[in-house]
Structures are given as structure tokens and as C-alpha cells.
């Protein structure tokens, strides 16, 4: 049976990973290549690299680094940030990305999903949705979670799957940074609405939160987190052992 995936997310600005602490044996915690390799060796099932650079030069640097990452790390790589056109897909796929995640770019132009899926296949197109509760409903937010689009989230996600999104990253703004666990009601609602893989993001504060996630929402496919891995609060081998001890199928 398919294993549940554990995915560290690395934010990259001007070619450097934005946050993190030193791990034993890791010389440069800000190097996307070194940190990515470290996680891969620890048993991460996949890596997500988010380009949070604004400048053109920074973007060039990101693709250079991506190429280096992809020539050294042999697990699936997802790339997001600044993906607005099919040419952006092309740019990162050529550098060795396996999947490309779209967020604001798809909100501005939903057809981007359809075009990219037709050209590269659904499995290549990941929709990343920032979701927050407003007036008792789940709403989609744009621009890094700052702008309420007014769109109802479950309908939006379903629409994107119809357009060709092959995987969904659901990031709950309500639980993000709170470290009290994933947004289980939101994730259940998304998993019930679509039949493509769903990745939970936002809220993980400890290893037990992943156990609770996969128990409460058995159809969720993966758990994504950043700071708890980067700051060494949760070590991936320990997390996977805990999951296995709780009868959750993982790759050890």
C-alpha cells in the first residue's frame, strides 16, 4: 500500500534557505542543496522548494540552485513560488523539478492549470490553496494569505481538480504558526470533495500532530511542515517511527 508522505518545505530567498538551525553534520544550514540532502538522507519522502524571491536575479539564482539540487537529490521535488505562466513551468521542470505548485497564479488565471496539465500531465500540476475561515465558510486567500479572494475554498479546489490539478496542498491560515495541530475539519472537507492526493500543511507543532492527522483523516496523503523540521523540534526518522508504531504505513 502507498505510504503516507512526510514533506519538509524549504523557503528560498536569493538562493538561500530562509530559516533554520544547524544540525549535526550539516555545515551550511542555509544551503538548499545541503539541507535538502540532509532531509533526503533522514527519510523525507519529497521536498518542496518555495521561491520567495522578488527580483529577476534572485529567480535566476533559484533555477541554478534547483538544477544543483536535482543533480544530487534523487527523491521527488516540488517547486512553487512565482509560477504564473506555462513558461514558468517549463523553466523549473527543465531544472529537474518533478511537480510545480501554483497558487496566486492560478487565482489570476485558472486556465494556467488546464494548459500546464495538458502539456505536462496532471501529475505535474499541484494546486496550493491558502484557506481561512470567514463568516463561517472556508475562503481562498491570495498573495501569501494576505488577500481574501471571496471565493469559497472547497468549490475552488474542486474546480482546479476539474481543470487538471493532480495534487492539492491545503494550507490552513487559521492553524498555520499556531503549532496546535493540522486543520482536521478543513482537510476532511477537501479529502471528501476530491479524489486526487491531498497534502496537509499548516499547524504541525509536534510529531503527535502527524499521528492525529493520519488517524482523523485517513484519506490525506501527506503532511508538510517547515519550521518544526528546520528548528530540529521534530526529527524525521523519529516521526516516521512514531507513525509506524501507530500502524500508519510509512517508508522507513
Amino acid at each position: 500500500m502507498i505510504t503516507k508522505r512526510i514533506i519538509p518545505c524549504l523557503d528560498v530567498r536569493n538562493g538561500r534557505v530562509v530559516k533554520g538551525v544547524n544540525f549535526e553534520g550539516l555545515h551550511d544550514v542555509s544551503s538548499p542543496v545541503e539541507l535538502g540532502q540532509y532531509y533526503s538522507d533522514c527519510g523525507a519522502d519529497e521536498l518542496v522548494f518555495y521561491d520567495i524571491t522578488a527580483s529577476f536575479e534572485g529567480r535566476q539564482l533559484f533555477t541554478d540552485i534547483l538544477r544543483e539540487v536535482a543533480s544530487k537529490i534523487f527523491i521527488p521535488l516540488t517547486v512553487g513560488g512565482g509560477i504564473n505562466t506555462v513558461e514558468d513551468f517549463d523553466r523549473v521542470l527543465k531544472c529537474g523539478a518533478d511537480k510545480v505548485s501554483v497558487n496566486s497564479g492560478a487565482i489570476r488565471n485558472p486556465d494556467l492549470i488546464r494548459e500546464a496539465a495538458m502539456r505536462y500531465g496532471n501529475q505535474c500540476v499541484v494546486l496550493s490553496a491558502d484557506v481561512k475561515r470567514v463568516d463561517g465558510e472556508f475562503r481562498v486567500f491570495a498573495k501569501g494569505g494576505r488577500v481574501d479572494t471571496g471565493m469559497e475554498a472547497i468549490g475552488w479546489i474542486r474546480h482546479c481538480v476539474d481543470l487538471g490539478a493532480g495534487e492539492i496542498v491545503v494550507n490552513s491560515i487559521d492553524t498555520d504558526g499556531v503549532k496546535k495541530g493540522f486543520d482536521l475539519p478543513l482537510l476532511k472537507a477537501v479529502c471528501d470533495a476530491v479524489s486526487v492526493p491531498v497534502i496537509a500543511s499548516g499547524g504541525a507543532g509536534c510529531a503527535q500532530d502527524f499521528v492525529d492527522l493520519f488517524r482523523a483523516v485517513p484519506t490525506v496523503d501527506a503532511g508538510l511542515a517547515a519550521s518544526i523540521f528546520h528548528f530540529g523540534e521534530v526529527a524525521i526518522p523519529d516521526l516516521k517511527q512514531l507513525l509506524r508504531d501507530n500502524d500508519i504505513t510509512v517508508r522507513l
Binding site: T3, Q123, G166, P197
Partner: protein, 207 residues
Amino acid sequence: MNQIAIIDYGVGNLFSLASSFRSIGAEITVTSDASVIRQADKLILPGVGAFEDAARKLRETGLDTVIKQEAGSGKPLMGICLGMQMLFEKSYEYGEHEGLGLLKGAVVPMQGRIPEGLKIPHIGWNALHFTRDSGLFRYIREGDCVYFVHSYYASGCEDSVIATAGYGAELTAAVQKGNVMGCQFHPEKSGKVGLAILRAFCEGIEA
């Protein structure tokens, strides 16, 4: 000398695949040149996307004939993902299409053959169950996980299947018959286990 040629026939990006071979010290050429393919010691047939499109490109470039001749002469050939599917007689992906016919069997959709409620494509890490001994597995163990992304699988290939992966049904994960072999999963995305399979291929498999 042990030169490995990755056959480039215009489907998919071969950057990761070439990098993975380089990382294990293999001498690798990415080529669409028939003479380079004929001179190579071992061949890799990659592929992502749709079967019909890939099969047409192989025919149009004439590489289908080259591959059949080289494999027929005993040269080791490994198909990866869609490249593995191309080794079979035919595929029922959107119609009925002819493959290279190097292995007995056909590629069929998961839809309707695995229990409802399981997501298609079969995407993620799944464990290998060995059904037969193969030198391809000399550095890995039963139960090791590899990375899959596919919606179709090879069926009726009992004489070549060497490993399966459980996903509501036992899906064909790897095949070998003499010098012709293939992986449905992506060894170049399967971490250490995947690289160990590529290493075994590079070193040579007893046919």
C-alpha cells in the same frame, strides 16, 4: 568500458535520470543517434506521458527498429516507467496501440481493475514484493519502497514479472526476461533504493 545510452526520443525531461546515473559513476550519454545507441554497451528507454504519442515518436525516428535489433542481439535494455510499458506487445491507453513487443503482455488501465476509492494515478512510495530472483535486486531488499506515478500497468506478463506493488491489486512493478528489463517506478526518484537498482543494472545482470 561500460557506456550507457539513455535513448532520447523527445518525451519527457531526462535531466534527473541522467544525473542519477552520473551520481553512481556511470558513463552516460543522452542520445537520439542510432549509431551511438548501437555502440553503447547498455540501453535505457525512458518515457513519461501518453503511450500512443511515445510509440509514434519511436516509430517516426526509426529508433523502434534499432532498439528491437539491439535487444535482439542480447544488449541489456532497461525501460523506465512509460519506457517499461513500451517493451510490451500493446497498450490499451486511450484505444489500442502497438508496443515494441519485446515482452509478452499488455498495458491496461487501473480503472476498473483496482477497488473503487483508491486514488488513480497510483502516486507515491510503495513497497516492492519480489516474485522472482533478479540481479537487478542484488543491492535491495524485499519490502523496500520506490516511487511510482502511473495510471496504467502491465498485465499478462507472468513470464517476466520480477516484482509487484500492492495497490488493491498486485501491480507489475518490475520485469526482466534475459537482457530485457524494466521498472514501472522511477528509480531516479526512489532515493538510495532506486540508485542501488541502477547500480546493479550498470554492473550487469546475469541474463
